[in-house]
């Protein structure tokens, strides 16, 4: 059976306008996308002054363009909180729907890949366009991006080292004049202007001869002084996606790693190479942040295979010679390997080359009373004290950690 088609499980989702042709269907328009957010954001700021929580959340959508090319897009969104029933937690976890036709009880009708599901509770809604996107809501991604973080212990490594701190390059953009025209940006601006003028409509073919081009829409590259990013880094993201991580812990870890990832991409651009590893009782590397972020919780928990895998990758690819290496690991603190013998061994090995290991423990509500396995063996090993320059741990309760706490956590990890 073709399960690629969307399965409707909500009784209220279908309406006359969806099933009967002839009703007016909402069409996407480009114009709405051009309206300014500023007024609404201004209003939202006022809320804080009036003492109410902010309402507009900036949703982060990660769009997968290529295998390794992810783009972070920010869209505004709101929810209207109400007292509503929560269907997500119950004795009977299994989601049910209706069906019809032949077949015995127990017969399998079809399947879909596990990874399609969002690992976090705040994944995007279903629908064709969102299939390639990921998002959680945050009030201020911008805050994270402008926050002056920097990777700690950054050292000059490898052959790409440059002697000057500044170079002159055609990186800055300028409207109206400059050295070389930036075709892509120019085209973007031209289209934008013409959408406002009504020359570009969704339902019609674009007639390029109709487009009006003003000098202000021409964007040029202009020669400018640039900081030369000489230091290269590889950042490993490790995430526990075992059964116990379901729900809040996953949400916290994903959000934090998304923040770190967005910030790295923003600040260090091409000088940072991200690698992504998921683990339950086994570890595997996934090709991109999209898969990393979206993958669903699976089996039991062993942490050391993930560290072992990092060590292997670093060794095989000789990464430590040319690159600064950072490892961020998110877990709920659960580990079947209670005394952490293998885990400590792998960590110690890692510490010989790494610039920083940042471990986030997002604890489940039931674990708040005592120390989790990871906390216990890490403290017993004394690594956190002896090698405090290189390894940091941040423990937070998953249930109550908001964005502020998560950003606070990033600071701890990279301090």
């Amino acid at each position: 059976m073709d399960l690629k088609r969307k399965i409707v499980t909500d009784l209220y989702e279908l309406n006359d306008s969806d099933v009967l042709p002839g009703y007016y269907k909402p069409k996407k328009t480009f114009v709405t996308g051009l309206q300014t957010l500023d007024e609404l954001l201004e209003r939202d700021k006022k809320r804080e002054e009036d003492g109410f929580p902010r309402k507009i959340r900036l949703g982060r959508i990660i769009k997968r363009k290529g295998a390794k090319d992810n783009q972070v897009i920010v869209v505004p969104t709101t929810t209207e909180p109400k007292f509503e029933h929560d269907d997500s937690i119950s004795e009977d976890q299994e989601e049910q729907t209706g069906g019809s036709g032949d077949g015995e009880e127990g017969e399998i009708l079809g399947e879909r890949p596990l990874e399609q599901e969002s690992g976090s509770g705040a994944g995007p809604g279903q629908g064709d366009e969102s299939e390639h996107e990921v998002g959680t809501d945050a009030f201020d991604l911008g805050k994270v991006l402008t926050e002056k973080f920097s990777l700690p212990n950054l050292k000059d490594k490898g052959k790409k080292r440059s002697l000057t701190k500044f170079t002159y390059d055609l990186t800055d953009k300028h409207r109206g004049f400059g050295q070389v025209i930036d075709k892509k940006s120019t085209l973007e601006r031209v289209i934008k202007t013409n959408i406002i003028l009504g020359n570009v409509r969704e339902e019609e073919e674009i007639d390029t001869e109709e487009l009006i081009i003003t000098p202000q829409d021409q964007v040029y590259r202009i020669l400018s002084k640039e900081k030369d990013y000489e230091n290269q880094a590889v950042v490993f993201f490790l995430r526990d996606y075992s059964g116990s991580m379901q729900g809040k812990p996953t949400e916290v870890v994903c959000t934090q790693h998304l923040f770190i990832y967005s910030w790295l991409m923003y600040q260090y651009q091409n000088n940072v190479i991200p690698r992504f590893i998921l683990h339950d009782s086994k570890a595997k590397e996934v090709p991109d942040f999209y898969t990393y972020y979206r993958s669903q919780v699976a089996g039991g928990t062993n942490i050391y295979p993930a560290y072992e895998l990092v060590n292997q990758i670093v060794e095989m690819e000789h990464l430590s010679a040319d690159y600064n290496i950072y490892v961020f690991h998110g877990t709920d603190g659960d580990d079947w390997d209670e005394d952490g013998r293998q885990m400590i061994a792998e960590t110690t090995k890692m510490l010989s080359y790494v610039n920083r290991i940042g471990i986030t423990v997002a604890k489940n509500s039931w674990g708040l009373g005592g120390l989790s396995a990871v906390e216990k063996y890490l403290q017993r090993s004394n690594l956190l004290k002896e090698r405090s320059e290189l390894i940091k741990m941040d423990v937070m309760p998953a249930e109550t950690s908001d964005e502020k706490r998560i950003i606070e956590g990033i600071k701890t990890l990279i301090s």
Partner: protein
């Protein structure tokens, strides 16, 4: 936005006249509009009511360009507006035959809105007109109080799903001569049972006496009954008067309670807020029946577009086109739910039951399979029965009454479950059950059901509003609780508490163990916008 042209309107009028001949009942007037994209951007956040009040949060959604689905998951936009006259929206380039089919569908919706008793409280309203008046009022207030108007709208909307729709409904439909007087209720209730603690035996005897007096003497029965009471309990009248003075109003929903009792709203400077809250409350009440009649309403409309269009000679030459569209609307999915399909089949099923005389107590007593199977009295009352459905049933009643094993077998229905196949790394869909009971509870679980939250009068005073959530197996969405309560605190003017139940997962100790669940009663307290949670 402009009206359909004269030619199309004449098609609509022809459809109306044929629908009337078939037994549908609805107002003479209806309005059909052609809408443009621009209209729609403005209409959709307003539930397609062009005159609904403005609210800035809607603008964010418009900006988001994703439609209103996220914002109103339970109030998807209507294509037919239940107002007087009814309004519907169309494309401007439909072929005539398609319009005929759609018009029949729309007419059946209008018939449903105007006859189903769950809509009774909306029957006298020109909602579009009312909304316009409300919008103007809100605009006026906004020029005076600025963004504070929007706060009141926001906080009112955060509790507008708790409106006491069924309270209103039960009052609306109570036949005038059926209710007993307050005096009778007080006498048999509080007076005899609580003040005098009369034993049950004597109480029943008294009730019998009252009933027989009513039977014998009709309306003056009550007077003569109380003449006797006066002799037996001389103090009754005094007690009753006292009761009338201090009685507490029953069945108030949260919004109504806040309007009547909030110390904050009682302040002269805040009186204007009451009208805003009332507007939000009335709007919510107006839309309440829609989501409770989704399946039956869509089933009804599908039944009639099929019934009327197939017998309409104007279908000629378009039978195949129609069949394709109709199948798209009303076919049962292999996996997934389609309210049109389920509603239509239930209505057809009821029609068939009635036609064969099976909707009958005598039939239910039969326990011989063969007789049941071949039972057919050819009563011809099927149509009558489905018109009764249309008048008196909601989704819950329809599903709860008519999803039988026979129905489930007839249409080969089953419950689909999902499970993880770890080896293949997939989620499997499988046939979980063909049992009617399972199918019914799966569907009932999908029906919209706002939480029941009441006010504890004993723990509530001017300084504290104490709310109690009745736990029905599902916890409230935790993330929404703080913000919602901060809103209520604003409207109440002081501390607000909410008693609710939360479900906690106890983690499995080993791989094979299933996780366990535990319910805990908790108390949220909000004071000065600070939230505290404790276990009780």
């Amino acid at each position: 936005m402009y009206l359909i042209d004269q030619h199309t309107k004449s098609i609509m009028e022809e459809c109306k006249s044929r629908a009337r001949d078939a037994g549908l009942k609805f107002d003479k007037e209806s309005l059909e509009y052609i809408v443009t994209n621009r209209d729609l951007i403005e209409l959709s956040p307003k539930l397609m009511i062009p005159t609904l009040y403005d609210y800035w949060v809607n603008d964010v959604e418009v900006l988001k360009g994703k439609g209103i689905y996220k914002l109103y998951p339970n109030n998807p936009y209507e294509t037919v507006i239940n107002s007087r006259p009814a309004i519907s929206y169309y494309n401007d380039n439909n072929p005539d035959w398609l319009n005929i089919m759609i018009f029949y569908h729309v007419i059946a919706h209008i018939d449903f809105f105007q006859n189903n008793i769950f809509f009774k409280h909306t029957w006298n309203d020109d909602f579009v007109g009312q909304a316009l008046a409300d919008k103007r009022l809100i605009d006026g207030l906004r020029s005076e109080y600025g963004r504070w108007v929007d706060y009141v709208i926001e906080f009112s909307r955060s509790i507008d799903n708790l409106v006491g729709y069924y309270d209103i409904l039960s009052k609306t439909n109570l036949p005038i001569n059926m209710g007993t007087s307050e005096r009778v209720e007080f006498y048999f209730g509080e007076f005899l049972q609580e003040i005098h603690k009369v034993p049950e035996m004597l109480l029943f005897k008294d009730i019998e006496k009252y009933n027989s007096l009513i039977m014998e003497q009709g309306s003056i029965g009550e007077t003569s009954f109380f003449a006797e009471v006066k002799i037996k309990y001389p103090e009754f009248q005094a007690k009753f008067d006292k009761y009338l003075e201090k009685r507490k109003p029953k069945n108030k929903d949260l919004m109504e309670f806040i309007i009547d009792n909030s110390p904050f709203l009682k302040k002269e400077t805040n009186r204007w807020m009451v009208s805003v809250i009332n507007i939000i409350r009335n709007t919510a009440l107006y839309f309440s029946p829609q989501s409770r009649t989704k399946i039956i309403n869509e089933g009804w409309a599908s039944y009639w577009h099929d019934e009327l269009f197939r017998k309409d000679e104007r279908i000629k030459g378009h039978e195949v086109d129609y069949a394709i569209i109709n199948a798209g609307v009303t076919s049962l999915s292999r996996v997934g739910l389609n309210p049109y399909a389920i509603g239509l089949r239930l209505i057809q099923y009821v029609e068939d039951l009635a036609d064969k005389g099976k909707l009958n107590f005598n039939f239910q007593k039969i326990n011989n399979y063969e007789i049941i199977e071949n039972y057919d009295l050819k009563t011809g009352t099927g149509k009558e029965a489905i018109f009764d459905l249309r008048t008196n049933f909601s989704d819950f009643m329809l599903l709860n009454t008519f999803i039988t094993q026979e129905f489930v077998n007839l249409h080969n229905l089953f419950v689909v479950g999902q499970r993880i196949n770890e080896q293949r790394g997939t989620v499997e869909y499988y046939i979980k059950s063909r049992n009617a009971q399972d199918y019914k509870s799966m569907l009932l679980d999908k029906l919209q059901h706002p939480p029941k939250i009441t006010i504890d009068n004993n723990k509530t005073n001017e300084k504290n509003l104490y709310l109690v959530h009745k736990f029905e197996g599902k916890q409230l969405i935790k993330d929404y609780i703080p913000e919602t309560m901060i809103g209520i605190e604003f409207l109440w003017g002081d501390q607000v508490q909410l008693e609710t139940t939360e479900i906690y997962q106890i983690p499995p100790r080993s791989e094979d163990e299933e996780p366990k669940y535990e319910n805990r009663r908790v108390l949220y307290t909000v004071k000065n916008k600070k939230i505290k949670k404790e276990y009780i």
